[in-house]
Every structure is written in structure tokens, then in C-alpha cells.
Amino acid sequence: MSQDFEDVLTLAAQWRAAGEQVAIATVTETWGSSPRPAGSQMAVTASGRMAGSVSGGCIEGAVADAARQTMQTGAPQLLDFGVSNERAWEVGLACGGKVKVFVEPLA
């Protein structure tokens, strides 16, 4: 009934039906002690609404930034979060785990 992916996708569909621009982020791979398993999802709107999670809260901000970018360009992104990543948007996970997050527009 309240499995989190279901709520997130239902909300994403409702937001889009209400005319919002929406992007969906999904954990596609994890290594080590990452807090949310593959399949965990988060929906973000251009107006700043957010639902769901892809970590314990440490990377949601960075994922939301990437989601806004994806909504502008229409291009999906595969993000790597972990201790060894050097990219500009990279945010370390306090737990020492690593995750990959796929961000796609709902369009």
C-alpha cells in the first residue's frame, strides 16, 4: 500500500498532470553501506517539490540540482556518488558507501 516507489511515481504522475515539469531519480546500483537499495526513487519538480529519497538525505540536494538540469535539457543523466569521485557536483556519502543514480525527465 505504501511501498515508497509507488507513492513517488503516483505523485510524479499527479504533479505532471497538474502541469508541472517533473524529473525522476532512481538508485540503479549501490556499493558498501548505502542507506537506500537499488530501485529507491525521488521525484523533483522545476517548482521545487520533492518526494521520496535516494539516500539517507546526504545527496538529495545534489540530485535535485541535477534533476533541474535534466528538466531544462531533456537529457537523462547517470550520476555517481561516492568517496572517490572528483566531479564538480560530487558529494561524499558520510557512510562511505557509493551509489549510482539515474535521473530522467518525465516527458
Binding site: 509507488e6 540503479t28 546500483e29 537499488a38 525527465p105
Partner: protein, 236 residues
Amino acid sequence: MTPALLAALAEARAAKRPVVLATRLPDGVQYLLPDPAAGAALNQAAAAALAEDRSGTQRIDGADWFLHAYNPPLRLIVVGAVHIAQALVPFASEVGFAVTVVDPRRGFASDERFPNVTIRTDWPDEAMAALAPDHRTAVVTLTHDPKLDDPALDQALRSDAFYIGALGSRRTHAARLGRLAALGHSEAALARIKGPVGLNLEAVTAPEIGLSIAAELVAARRGSPLAPARPVAQAA
């Protein structure tokens, strides 16, 4: 993801049809599986992901695919529309179980006592035959009444239910096992029944007992060391 694909996914979930959303990384090409257009390898991998109830990224035909397994919700059949059932149902729903409450006593099994829950008022043996518990189903009996609990447990033992629990003291449970043995269930089969039901939280109140049962359902589902031993082969 296109809105049309999201709608198809929502429809499959509403119809309780197991599906896999396959996404090619990083370009985002997607299929909702099973779909013959996606090719044999992808469809086979999707079937395996559903069987293991596991989402993840796999290399298939030279590309990385994220396979998101959407199984229908786990089911919980609660026999006995009693006070503890009222406490158990919201916890079980919250952790992802689709709950059906079975009790032929209409005074107990009322919509007022169980809002937004599927209720059956047929006898447990009929209800269990219709519900056909499978490997994604848990069965919990709470009536304390052998007339109601025993037929449900008898059928649960003949099914692949991943968890079977029965409310009652150790003494009640021993008597219950004697009656079920007389119905032809082996000792190994009877060991599948968790009695007393629930994780040992020293629970006292109905909500505490409901929480302990819901916690044990999660433990059984996730293969925690706190869970009762995995079910043995089906009963004779």
C-alpha cells in the same frame, strides 16, 4: 520516462501484474517487460529479477540495463477480526502488505472496525481456498478458537506461505500442534508455524503485539536472523 509508460506501469501495478521497468543506461531507452519486442535476453533477466524480487543493474547484450522489479504487494491473511488484528493491520499495511481479514463473525468483521481493509466473512477454510496463499503470502491466525484457526492453519501448511503464525500461549500452541498432527501434518511441517506469534518484545498491549507480529513479518520477508526458520518442504 514517458507519461504513457508511467501510466502503463501504474496500470500493471493496479492489476497486481508483476512487471519490470528496464532502463538502458545512460541513455534511458525503456521497456516495460515482459515485452516480446525487447528480445529474449532482457525478458529472461526480467523474469529472474521478479522471481528474486530484486532490482539492479545488469550487463545484457553489451549494454547496461537497470531492471526495476515491480512485484505485486506481499499479502497478509489475518484470521480473526479481533482487537489485535485491528492493531496489526495498519502496521502491516505500512510495511507493504496487502491485508485481508477473515472472520465469519460479522460483529467482529465490520467495516467500522476495519476501515479500508478487505474483509471476508466466509469460513476460514473457504476463504483460504479462495485466497490461495503463495510464496509471497503470510498467514496469521488470531482467533484463539480452534474452529476458526485450525482449518486456516491446515490450509496454510499445505501452501507455500512464507510465514505462518498463530496467536496463543505455549500451552495453547502445544494443544494446537497435537490437533494439526492428527490431520496428518508432520513435525517438520508443523515447525513452520510460529507460536507464540511475533518477535519477543515482551509485548503487552494490542498495539505492541501488533507491532511484534508486523516486525516478525518484516524479519521473515528480509531473511533476518530474528525470523523463524525458513519453511521446510510442503506438508504431506
